[in-house]
Amino acid sequence: MVTDIPRTVVVTGVRRFLGAHVAARLAADPRIGRVVGVDTAAPGDDLGGGVEFVRVDPGLSQLRSVLADTGAEAVVHLALATAPDPQGGGRAAMKEQNVIGTMRLLAACQQAPAVHRVVVRSSTAAYGASFRDPAVFTEDTQAREVPRGGFARDILDIEGYVRGFRRRRPDVCATVLRFVPFVGSRVDTALTRYFALPVVPTVLGRDPRLQFVHIDDAWEVLHRSVLEEHSGTFNVAGPGVITLAQAVRRAGRIPVPVVEPGLSGAAAFAKALGMRGLSLDQVDLFVHGRVVDITRLTTEYGFTPRSTPEAFVDFVRAHELGSLLGLGRVTAAERAILNGIRRARLAGKRSLDGARRPS
C-alpha cells in the first residue's frame, strides 16, 4: 500500500473555477511532480504554469488511456454540474456529466493500477432538506426523504458509485467530500448572485439555517485530501450557522417574503428570481435549511474551516454589495430617533416643571 505523496495527480473539471484553482494549487506545491487537468472543453482562462491540460471526448472513453499514459497516482474528481445549463443541454446534459461521467471515471480508475487515491467532490444536498430531518446532519444520517432536486439525486448516485468502487478496489483510499455551498471573494454561483439582488425573495414564514464554506478552505481540504490519506466521507462546512434573514440583512439587502404554495409555487419562485440555476434543491434548502456536523473533518484533518458567519462577511465585503440597509445608516437612524425622543421628553418635562413652579 502506497501512502506517500502522489507524484502525478489528475484533476477533472478544470474548465470550471473550482477545478482550475485546485489544479493550479496542486501544481504550485513542490511536493507534487505533475498535475494533469482534464475536461471535455478547454478552460476559458489560462490554467497557469505547471498544469498540463488534456482534452477528452464527452464520452470520456479516452480517460483510461489518460490515466495509463500519465501514470496517475491520485485522481481528483471535480467535474460536477450543480445546476442545469440551459445553453449546454439542460438537465439531461447535467445528469450525463454528473452520473455517467463519475461512473466512467471510477471505471477508469478501477483499471488503473497506479491510482491509489481518489477524491470525489460531493455535496450536503445528499441529505435533502425536510421538516422531518434532524437539525444537524452527521455523515451517518440517512435522509428521511429522497431529495426531490435533480442535483441531490445525482449526488446520491455518485456516492453509490464510490461505494461500489471502494468494494472493488479496497486498496485505493477514496475520499468523498460533502461540501456546503461555497462563498468567497471570487465565487460566482447561483447563491452568490441571489444575495447580490437588491431585494432578496425569501419564503414567507421560513427562516432557514444555512451554512457556507469559504472557497479558500474548500481548496485547503481538497489539497490535503490529495497529499494525505483520509479515507471516508466528510462534511465540509464552516462551523456555526447563519439564518437566511440574517444573511440577507448582513449583506445589506431587504428580504421580500414570497408565499410557498407547494411545488408549482416553488418553480414560479425560481422563475420570479429571474435567474437560471435555482433548483428544487435550493427551494427546499430555503424552506427547511440544512446544518451539518464537521467533527469528523476537524478530527481527521486537524483543520477547521473559518466559520460560516466569517466566510459570509468575507463574501459581502469582497463583492462590495452596495449596501441598501447598511450598519452606518441604521445606526444613524437609531441615534436620530433616540435623540428625538430624549429631546421631546425633556421638553415635556420642562413644560411640566414650568407649569408646576408658579403654583
Binding site: 434532524p134 440574517q246 444573511a247 448582513r250
Partner: protein, 352 residues
C-alpha cells in the same frame, strides 16, 4: 445575551459625537457635575456621563448611545434605558447582528421578545405557581419530561417561562414534525430553542449540556377529551429514555396542572382534520362557535411541580434494552401521574 457587541460598535461613534452638535441652549454638556435640574427630582445623584463610562456592564444599553449629544439624560432613568435598549435591539435585528446556534435558537429574540410576551400570560392570566425548581440542575444537562394537554401546546411555552424564571436557563423543547411543517410557527419554535423530537437532536442537545424538555404523550396528550383530563396517555416508544441513557442524563419529571382546562376538548371534526392534515380538529365550548374569540384560552389556575431527578447512570449499559427503557418510562409516567393528583388536591377549583 448578545450584549457587549453594541459597545464596540457604538462607543467610537459616541466619542466622535462628543464635540459636535448639541450646545443648543442647554448649559450642560459633558461636564460631570450632574443635573442642574429641579434638585431632588434627580434622585440618586449620579453623574450621568462618567458613571456610565465606568460601569458599562451594569448599564449596558445607555452606554451604547451618545449621551452628551443632544439631550441630557439622567442616570437611572428607566424609560430612557428602555427606549435606548429597544432601539439598539431593533438595529441589531435590522442589520442581522445577532447569533443563532446550530438548532436555530436565537437567545436574544427569546429573552427580549418571546419570553416577555409569554411571561404575563403564565404569571398573570394563568396565575402560574412553580414548585420544586431546585430539582433542576444549575448547569449541565437534564431531560425534563412533562405531561401534555390543552388542545394547543400552550403548556410548552408556559414551561419554558417557568424554567427560565426559576433557573435562568433555557429549556430546549422537542417538538413533533408537524410543528416544523407549519410556516412561521416552525421558525418561532426554532428561534425559541425548540427542535425536532428525534434521538439525534435530543442527544446532541444533551451532550452540549442543555436542559431539554419533552412531552412523550405527544398528540395523544394534547388531543384527549375533556373527560379524560389528568389521565396520562401512553408514552410512545420511550425514545426520550434511550436518549437519556445514551448520554447519562438525569430525568426530571414535571407535572403541569391547569392546561387541561384552557380549551376543554369535547369533539373532533375528523373530516376537517383530514383536510388540513392535522391530528384532530378541535371542538370546544367556544371554538368554532365564537370564531377567533373562541381561541382565547379559559383562565384556569396553573401549578407546575418539578420532581426529584431520576439518575440514569446505573442503566447506562442497557441503553438499548427495551425492558429497561419501558420500566424507566413507566416510572417517569407514574411519578408525573401521582404528582398531578397531588397538585389537583391543592387546587380544588380549576378557575380559583
Amino acid at each position: 445575551m448578545a450584549r457587549g457587541d453594541p459597545h464596540s460598535e457604538l462607543a467610537p461613534m459616541s466619542a466622535a459625537e462628543l464635540p459636535a452638535p448639541s450646545r443648543n441652549g442647554h448649559q450642560r454638556a459633558p461636564e460631570p457635575p450632574p443635573t442642574p435640574e429641579p434638585g431632588p427630582a434627580s434622585g440618586p445623584a449620579v453623574g450621568p456621563e462618567p458613571a456610565v463610562g465606568l460601569e458599562p456592564a451594569a448599564v449596558p444599553e445607555p452606554a451604547a448611545v451618545p449621551e452628551p449629544a443632544a439631550a441630557p439624560v439622567e442616570e437611572g432613568d428607566v424609560w430612557d434605558r428602555r427606549v435606548a435598549g429597544a432601539l439598539a435591539f431593533l438595529r441589531r435585528r435590522l442589520t442581522g447582528d445577532y447569533e443563532v446556534d446550530e438548532f436555530g435558537f436565537d437567545p436574544e429574540l427569546t429573552e427580549r421578545v418571546i419570553q416577555p410576551l409569554l411571561r404575563p400570560v403564565f404569571r398573570r392570566y394563568f396565575r402560574g405557581e412553580v414548585t420544586g425548581a431546585e430539582h433542576l440542575p444549575e448547569h449541565g444537562p437534564a431531560l425534563v419530561v412533562a405531561n401534555h394537554s390543552g388542545t394547543l401546546p400552550i403548556d410548552a411555552g408556559m414551561l419554558t417561562v417557568a424554567v427560565h424564571d426559576e433557573t435562568g436557563r433555557h429549556l430546549r423543547l422537542l417538538g413533533a414534525d408537524l410543528v416544523f411543517r407549519i410556516p412561521i410557527f416552525s421558525e418561532l419554535t426554532r428561534k425559541s430553542g425548540g427542535t425536532l423530537a428525534c434521538n439525534a437532536d435530543a442527544e446532541r442537545l444533551l451532550r452540549n449540556g442543555e436542559l431539554v424538555g419533552v412531552f412523550p404523550e405527544g398528540f395523544k396528550g394534547i388531543g384527549k377529551r375533556y373527560w379524560q383530563r389528568y389521565q396520562l396517555q401512553r408514552f410512545g416508544r420511550g425514545g426520550f429514555v434511550s436518549a437519556a441513557l445514551h448520554t447519562g442524563t438525569p430525568i426530571v419529571p414535571v407535572a403541569i396542572v391547569g392546561a387541561e382546562e384552557i380549551y376543554p376538548l369535547i369533539g373532533d371534526l375528523k373530516p376537517l382534520a383530514r383536510l388540513l392534515g392535522t391530528p384532530y380538529f378541535p371542538v370546544t365550548p367556544t371554538f368554532p362557535w365564537l370564531g377567533p374569540l373562541g381561541m382565547v384560552p379559559l383562565p384556569s389556575k396553573w401549578l407546575v411541580e418539578f420532581c426529584p431527578p431520576i439518575d440514569t447512570t446505573p442503566y447506562a449499559d442497557s441503553a438499548d434494552d427495551p425492558i429497561v427503557i419501558f420500566n424507566l418510562a413507566d416510572q417517569v409516567r407514574e411519578t408525573i401521574q401521582q404528582t398531578v393528583r397531588k397538585l389537583l388536591e391543592r387546587r380544588p377549583d380549576p378557575f380559583a
